[in-house]
Structures are given as C-alpha cells and as structure tokens.
Symmetry: C2
Subunit: 406 residues, 2 copies
C-alpha cells in the first residue's frame, strides 16, 4: 500500500464541476487501496477576490488579519471537496492548517513551515479516511493563522509528504507535466518523463511556472519524489527526483524563459573596488531583486556593469541608478525594459562540452544579438531583445533536439 | 473601567462602508477607556451564499464539512473589522471560535457552547487590545470546527460576556431597540427603555425578531444585562435585565406577532386517553414543531383538538393528519395556513386582573374572531385570521396604551 500526497491548485478546484472531477480522481486512488492525503488551494480567483476586498477597505491591511482573511479561501475549498467525497461514501475530513497543525514561523504573509503534527492525519489514514488539508496556511506558536506566501500550497503538499514519509508527492495542475519549453511557444515541445531536482530548480527559477521553486527545494532537501501531472487528463506526467547516475542524462532537458526583464548597462565606470557595491546596494535596499549581474573590463582602466531586474521595478531602479550616476560623471547609462531572458538547462552539461558553442552558433545563425550571458554548472542564461525571444527559443529547441519528432 | 461585549450582526457588517461604521463605534468605546470585546457575524448574505454553494454541489452536505465551510463567513468579517481597527491605531486582533476557544458539543450545525477559554482575551484586554471574535462558531473537543445554529452570534456574545464577567452585553443591530410592537405595522410603537428577561423571552418566542430566544435564556440564566441598540444611530436602546421589584411594571410591555402559522382543527374525536398522543406523536416524529395546542370537550362524549405548526410544515402535517384520521371515521378536519398569532406580553399581568377581559373586549369591538387562545403567566396568545392581524395588533396597542403619545 502506497501513501500519496496529491495537491490540487486553484484552477483544478475553480468551479463546482471541477471539484467533482478532483473528487473522482481522489476516489480512484482510494479505491485501489492506497493511502491518500489531499492538499487543495483556494478556488480560482478567490485569493485575489479576498485581497481586493481587504484593499478596498484599507490600503495596507495588518498582515496578521490579512492572513486570517486569506486563509478562508482554502478552508472553503477543502470543506467543499470533503463534502463531495463524503457523498461518494469516501470518509473524508477537511482540515485547516491550524487544525493539522502546520506549524510555521510568525512572519505573516510569508511564514516558513517549521513542522507538521501528523498524529491526526495518521489516525485518519489508518482508519481508511482521506484527510483534505488546506494548502498555503499554517499556525504560529501563538496560535495565529499564518500564510506561507503565494503558491505555498505546493510547499504544504511537499512538507506533508515529507512529514508523513509518503511515497510520492503529486502536484496535479492544468498542464500535463514539465515540458522541454512552453508548448504555447513551441508546439513541438515534449513532456519530460523525468527530470532531476537540480534541473527543475533551474527551470523553476528561470521562469517555468509549473512548480514553485520553494517546493522543489523542499522536495530535494528531503529527497521526496515529486510528480507533476494533469488534474484533468490521465497521464504519468513528469517525475522529479534525484539524478540517476546509471542513466545517461540528456545534455539539455529544457528551455525556460522569462519576459519580465529590464536591463541596465552602465559604461565607463571607474575600475576600482566598491563601485558595483555603490550602485547595487541602494537597489537592493529598495527591496528590488537584482537577477543577472555581469561586470566586464573596458579600455582605459574603466569597467562596465550590466544587471537585470523585474520589469515592474524598472522605473524605480532607473531613478535610483540615475541619482547615483551623478557621482560618476564619466559613465553613461543604457536602460531598457524590452528584454527577455532564456535559459538552457540540463544536468548533462556537466559532462558535455560544446553546449555553449552550439548555443552561440545558433544565435549567430538566427542573427540574434546576445546582450548578456550568465552560466551555472547546469544552466546557460541569455538576455535577448524581447521581440527575438520566440525565434531564439524555437531555434534552440531544434538545436538541442528537444522536439517530439526528434 | 467597564467591560463591554458588543455584537454586530450581518446587516451591520454587510458592506465595506458599514464595517467602517462599526469600527468607528468600537473606537468610541475604546477611546473612553472601557474594555471592549467585539463579536461579529458573517457579512450580509454570506452564510446563505456559502450554503447555496454547498447545496449546488450536493443535496445533503456532511454536517462537519458544512460547519467548516460556513465558519469562513464570520472569519472574513472579523479579519476585515480588525484590519480597519488596526488602521485606526486601535490594536485589534481577530479570533475564530476555535482560536478563542469557544468550546462546544460536537453536534454540527447546532452545537451547544460548553465553555469559553478567556486567557487570551484577558491578556488582550489587559494590554488595551480589542479582541474581535467570530460569532456563531466554536470548536469541539476533537478540534473540529462547529457552528451553533442560525442567529448563534447573539449567543456567542452573551457567552463571552458571561465568561469574561462583562458589565453589559450589547447587541447592535438594525433596529433602535425592543419596541412595544413592530413599528412597521404600528407607527406609534414605542422603543422600550427596559424590559425584563421573562418578557423578552416571551416576545422573542412569540415572533419578535430582535433577539434570539437562546441568547436571552443564556443571559437570564447568568443574569447578564443585555442591551439591544442601533448599530447605525446613537441611542440607549433597550436594556434587558432582571425585573425590578421596586418599580411598578406596566401591565403590558409589548405585542409580538407571527404570520407563519398554520392551524389544524379536528372535531368529533373520541374523548378518551391517548387520542391527542396518537395524532400529535407522528407529527413530532416528522420533526415538525407543534406550537399552540388546545383541547376542548364537545357534545356526546367527544372532544375537539386544535393545534398550530409553522406554515412551511403545513402540507406535510396535513398529509400525516389525514392518514391518521382514517382511523377516526367520525371526525372532521379543518385546516388552514392563512392564520397568524399575536401575543400580548407583560410581567404586570401577574398582579393585574382584567388584561384578558380587555383583550376580548377589543377583539369583539373590532369584530375579529379569536380562533385559539393560550395563556402563560405573563402572556396571552391569540390565533386570528391573517388578514385581521394588523387590525388586531393596532387595536390592542391602543387598548394597552403602548403608543408614544399615551
């Protein structure tokens, strides 16, 4: 008898008909005799609706109270889902994060899960019942309701799977699995049967919206096999697990991309220690996350600095940098929010040379200017003009033989 | 420094503007240095919306899950109200029934409050904070979310006031207080400054919608002064407390009425023990509440039985009674759902004769047929044709000098 944790996201429980669909899926697992714990998110746009309600009332709601408000979204979902299961003669019980108890830090809005009491869930499982747990929420040591941040239901599911020593944590969603790249951009994109935690971390970090980075990190830390599959269609989906040394990994597993980039390039800075710090510290002090950073030498003992931020932070970052550059009269700034990042990811890069060379060859053939490059052990990221992104992704998808027909 | 528990009902928190209004009222109490605990219901029709959601999914939702679902309604209200208070620099904290803890029996949908832990609330009050508690809900000894039945927020407020030994429990609502009768029917109706628990129990039991019977019973049991006042307008409202022997009570305090009655009269039943039981037991077995019951002798050793039920139960009751009457071939049935009940209530009746005589005199003068009568120590109830109700109430309001100008 296996023990499975299944997580259904907001789009999977977005309507009453869909809740019936989820119940039918849960019933299948229950019928084959496996233990199952279900984690559900709030229905569709419910979290946004509640957030709008609070913000219509006051611009900056107290975080403790905002958490108490938002937590009702998942409570509604799990109660409805448990009702339907009960009506199918499947003994189900809904639980809030506080009931389970999902113990978290007291940082409202982005609490961290510190532990999960499994006593009640184990009793349910032993009695053949199906616990249906509200994702995204927990309880602080003071008994206050907390939320663990957007997309936190994935993390709740993994944390539950780890605490219960489940055999697998399944994230059931509106895609069939993890693809070589976004199938909306490249119709030939292929669903990967298996991907390593490391690759998934790079893909999630580089813009693949399938899974939350935090949930993947959590799963890797405890070596909990994660499966991403469709909540609507049958199919094995993608298994995310430890890299298997016996199987030769493909050189490149997938291509992630992210359109929400803005680029700042400052030319002719003095080539001396602390210059980058003087420029980037005020940006990070403004709570703006800097993504790619490239520093390169330029003639006459000067250097150039380029970095990217989220496009939403473009205007504020520009203001900050322009103010600082008054102290560097010889430097010039070029800034644009019309750039996109793409990342080629694959554990096979570790043992294969030539991945970068083929990448630049492809970009040259397509006449796409590579504005910035940054690399990690299993990833190469490029910044290109936004209008060239689609062509770049398609060309690289072919270069690395990722398509279905290859 | 006084300690006040204030309860705001669904219409008082029915919109974002109204939540600001409630916050302003709470702020006034807080500003004068009194301790205050707020109890709030779900916003407007939220409970009905959630109920509809569940019933659209399945006809008979599991009671445990329905409670988990419905409890979100009050959780939303208290979180929003606490947010607004915080934004006004009033340190407020919302609590669910489970957080407080409002301990209840495990009978989902109509749990009984067994006790309230006051530790956390007392700590808040001592620190000058305002606890905002979700009404209508609690937690069973197994940690399950329970609800205590419709209108239960009044009961939550009284239970909290009793547990905290508050000076007064205030029910802030959409009326100015308890009136001599419904002002929509009798424009001269007067708001009572003070009414005894017993009178309020009779008024609430006889159709006055201002307060829930259960909350009044609870308050009387623990002698907790209850005040009903407007959530929207200034005014002292009505204080409900123990009868004061020093003050001479008015003979009649008020007239309650209830249109939702259906009457069954069975004539020519055998006048022998057990007949009423044979007729009424199947009705109560069908969970139909029988209200007034009158048995009277008729000629030739036979007797007549009349009783009333809620109008919604008319059809089902008729079916039950007709089936039983097949065993009583000599009896005849008259049934109607076009009747209404009115009740004249006043503790002064105990020491004043002639209340009933003046009542029948008034009915005779107005040519209104009294179909049934039942009496208690401080109440006389009449059943009349529904179309005569309004005339009867107005005439009696004048007879007992209840109007403003009297």
């Amino acid at each position: 008898m296996a023990l499975i944790v299944q997580k259904y996201g907001g789009t999977s429980v977005g309507s009453l008909a869909l809740i019936h669909n989820v119940a039918a899926q849960v019933a299948r697992v229950h019928a084959r005799g496996d233990g199952i714990v279900v984690v559900a998110s709030a229905m569709g746009d419910e979290t946004d609706r509640l957030l709008d309600l609070a913000r219509a009332l006051i611009p900056h709601p107290e975080p403790r109270e905002l958490d108490a408000l938002l937590a009702t979204g998942e409570q509604v979902s799990v109660a409805l889902l448990a009702m339907v299961l009960c009506s199918m003669d499947i003994p189900a019980r809904s639980y809030t994060g506080a009931q389970v108890r999902v113990r978290t830090s007291a940082v409202h809005g982005k609490a961290r899960i510190e532990g999960i009491d499994t006593e009640r869930l184990r009793a349910d499982l032993q009695a053949g019942r199906v616990p249906v747990v509200a994702g995204f929420q927990g309880v602080s040591e003071h008994g206050d309701i907390t939320t663990i941040g957007r997309g936190g239901s994935d993390t709740t599911a993994v944390a539950l799977a780890v605490a219960l020593k489940a055999d697998e944590c399944q994230i059931l969603t509106d895609v069939d699995g993890v693809f070589t790249t976004d199938p909306r951009m490249v119709p030939q994109a292929r669903c990967l049967a298996r991907v390593s935690f490391e690759e998934m971390l790079e893909l999630a970090g580089q813009g693949s919206k399938v899974l939350h980075l935090r949930a993947v990190e959590f799963a890797r830390k405890y070596n909990m096999p994660l499966r991403v599959a469709s909540a609507f269609r049958r199919g094995a989906g993608t298994l995310i697990c430890e890299e298997e040394s016996t199987v030769e990994a493909p050189v490149v597993s997938g291509i992630a991309f992210n359109r929400d980039e803005a680029e700042f390039s400052i030319f002719g800075l003095p080539d001396e220690p602390g210059t980058a710090y003087r420029l980037l510290k005020p940006v990070s002090d403004a709570n703006i996350e800097v993504d790619m950073i490239v520093i390169s030498a330029s003639p006459q003992g000067r250097s150039d600095l380029s970095f990217t931020v989220h496009r939403d932070d473009y205007v504020q970052t520009k203001r900050i940098i322009e103010a600082i550059l008054k102290g560097f009269p010889e430097s010039t700034l070029e800034a644009t929010d019309r750039v996109a990042k793409l990342s080629v990811v694959g554990v096979g890069m570790r043992s294969h040379a030539g991945v970068a060379a083929r990448l630049f060859e492809t970009m040259a053939r397509e006449a796409i200017n590579v504005r910035l490059v940054s690399t990690s052990e299993i990833k190469i990221s490029l910044l290109v003009e936004e209008e060239k992104l689609e062509r770049a992704v398609r060309a690289l998808h072919t270069t690395y033989a990722l398509s279905v027909q290859d």
